[in-house]
Subunit: 359 residues, 3 copies
């Protein structure tokens, strides 16, 4: 399917103003560097002014203060990137699976499937599952008993939803993610010094996912141990993330790939957590906190801001020295203390000598 | 299903003593903070004394030395947390899938399925697979040829067991885990400076998993290159863990989510490996070693204890300075050496001046 | 199946020279330490000379300069490890699935399946998919619309290929990997200070995988945002790796498990990236760069070499001191500056005193 829109038609749907009454037709989006004829791009950072000057895009989305930087046909708006995203959605409508239940799908008679749902090849819908309107269940998905999937939510192929999970409306779950897996909870039973083993604590909570949540490929969200694990509205999770039992992720927080969040951590709203960051269990992170990629957070953070914990990388030979120095940092600090003392002694000695001379 | 038990009935099954002849009926577990009427909680750390005083739980499990801290009906035992786990198992019996092979499952005629097994929707049981008694194979699982699954072991939906794997009794494998995948073994073939490519080394070992092992969602355990990869009895693995070829994980070791263990690492018994920790290949880790979360272990550890390698996190601006200082740590150390030398010179000079004055 | 070969037959197929006209028959490979009668091993590092002396292998592959170190029957070649890999392939031919489409597989009538393909149990081949010759699609795989899989490529069970992906020839994709998932792209729409939410940017690029690429279990490779994500020839990816949208991984680069590569990173050819390393987005890494395991790369690397960023691990008590010292490293550096100043003052004072005395 191909969509072609004039700038005027675009602004009629998405707002913003058009620079001129241009009849330029737009049929796709592109980056400034690679856009071709028929494509629209966006510009929001003067770092890319050179690309703006040379782009082959047919039109560009800019802020009011940047309108004079280009003579291309343009749409003027305060947030070009968000506008670009919405326009791209318009030009690239989501693929709609044909409604209906594939003959190979196995749907329990007690399941409630609302109108306009699509249940894919070999999908499994277990007892007492409820699918809202317009829900898409991809091929090979398994939705276990008593789960609820809200209206317009889409599950890509091979998603696993464990029993009793609740997924909100307009969510998007990607392939291989596992929702509602047992949390990692064991108590050590110490029979004797030589006989210790782990006793599983039944994980009787659920996973509750609010509306407009996206969950990346192969990401895992564990069910609560006793209470529930909760993902609030508008949260976006990338691939290969682990959310442990009893976490609560605040609304509109975004978490990049490979992040691990340990049990019972409470993350605020509008946080941004960089890739491969790790957050220990039972911590509280305030709203509007940014965690840099790869950073391990070991204590609660009560104040908005950006937090980082990273070793700077070096050529290996230089790093070997750095590592040795880090290992001896305590001694370095001790030595510094001793030098400080010595200097104090020297200062006094010199003062004495000087005063003696002056007398 | 709902189970209600008196404290006396509980201790008759699990041991411990009851504080009084209380007829209190317990039908669920709860945390001190959130437990309601009918729930039993546990107390093992005086840090939570305030919660103990105000809990709405109907009863509590305590150590003998804490019995006097509460007037609630109580069960007294040496390890309240392990007791709580066992009691929760009693009150929350595992969901039992209906025995039988679902009509949509594809089972090779040469497979041996023991009594009371449940083979779920669309599951695949390949040639010469053996399932012990009471085995549960979830929907969409693929069990490849010549694999063996021991009695009472449960595979959740969408587990993949590669050919020739052996899984013990009473194991629990969670959705998306992949057991027996080829290890990552390649030799570089250098035809010329400009032509180098990787030759795969066939991975002809197996994965052997002993009894009472739990394996988390989307965790991967690779088959051995030549010999086998072995997971010993009672090991508990969380989600998104990578165990490379030829590792051996010692009995009753627990590994939290997002951990990576490189090839041929030998991990001792009763170790505790924190989330996102990494262990390099060909290392040996002694029994009873604890690795802190996020810590990279680069050398063997021969002594029980807790080991850590973490950058402390800071506000980003402070960290920028720290990072710059770390990069220049060698110079700082060198400078310290020079200052030490200079102070020595100064001390000698002052001693000389002082002695001259005294003469 | 069992293959038995004499050393002469082996060298006729793989090159190298035989030490003698030995009729020794080889039927499997083994490590020096564990090889048994009938097995061949390899030796390329004098670190293992002791094992070479005591091995029970029937023959060994050695470099010319090491030929005199053993009296065992031997094959002499410049690169014993690569030779061993090739020989192991000969002795352990890959398991060939029976050609044909399993009756339970669901293949769209518009799909093109070339000769000698094997499509496994419950596999899904969607509209307009093209499979080259000799392609193997494992049980439970889902190949979405418009994807192309090249000749001789093998997908293990439960692989997901999203729409429009292109996979080259002779590739090997392991269970649970997800190719062509939507990239993680959102623009923040700021309606007011209190109302901010994320707008999805449609991910309209593709994943293009060249020939001879291996992709590990549960690894995820995201489709491009606008342009494509590209994995060049001969790249080998281990398990649980995340490759974000618009990355390009250069030919013959190997990446170990648990690595994350953020969006639009360009990795050179013949790089070696250690396990759990992380590479930030929009970076460029030169050819022949080695990244140590667990190292976070935050800036582009323009020069071949080995780069590292790791905290050394310590016993926890020692680490606590180190961490405190790192947090105060700026102050330590400041203090060092002040001491340097003080020493300068002292030196001047002493010089003055000394010169006064001398006058």
């Amino acid at each position: 399917m191909s969509v072609s829109l004039s700038l005027l038609e675009i602004t009629q749907q998405l707002g913003g103003s058009v620079s001129d009454s241009s009849a330029t037709l737009i049929n796709r989006v592109g980056s400034l560097a690679f856009a071709q004829d028929g494509a629209i791009s966006f510009f929001s950072d003067t770092k890319y002014t050179a690309q703006l000057k040379t782009t082959s895009a047919s039109a560009v989305i800019v802020k009011p203060e940047h309108a004079s930087l280009t003579s291309l046909p343009k749409i003027i708006t305060d947030n070009p990137y968000a506008y670009f995203a919405q326009l791209s959605q318009l030009l690239n409508p989501e693929y709609i699976e044909v409604a209906g239940i594939h003959t190979s799908a196995v749907v329990d008679p007690s399941a409630h499937i609302s109108e306009a749902c699509s249940v894919g090849v070999n999908a499994v819908i277990a007892a007492n599952v409820t699918l809202g309107k317009n829900v898409t269940i991809g091929a090979g998905c398994v939705i276990e008993r008593n789960s609820v999937i809200g209206d317009n939510t889409k599950l890509e192929a091979n998603v696993t939803i464990k029993y009793g999970s609740q997924v909100g409306q307009n969510c998007h779950l990607f392939s291989g993610c596992v929702i509602g897996n047992d949390g990692f909870g064991y108590a050590e039973n110490i029979v004797s010094d030589n006989q210790k083993y782990w006793v599983k604590i039944p994980q009787i909570g659920r996973v509750i996912i609010h509306d407009y949540v996206d969950i990346g490929a192969n990401t895992t969200i564990d069910r609560g141990a006793i209470d529930d694990t909760i993902i609030e509205e508008g949260v976006k999770l990338d691939n290969l993330i682990q959310i442990a039992h009893n976490c609560r992720i605040g609304a509109h927080t975004v978490i990049a790939g490979c992040v691990g969040i340990a049990g019972s951590a409470i993350i605020g709203q509008h946080c941004k957590i960089g890739g491969a960051a790790m957050i220990l269990g039972h911590l509280t992170i305030a709203d509007n906190v940014t965690i840099s990629p790869g950073s391990m957070i070991m204590r609660s953070i009560h104040k908005a801001g950006t937090y980082t914990a990273l070793m700077p990388f070096q050529e290996h030979e230089a790093w070997l020295k750095t590592a040795a120095n880090i290992r001896h940092l305590s001694q370095l600090t001790d030595k510094m203390g001793k030098l400080t003392d010595k200097i104090k002694v020297l200062e006094e000695a010199i003062e004495k000598l000087t005063s003696q001379r002056q007398t």
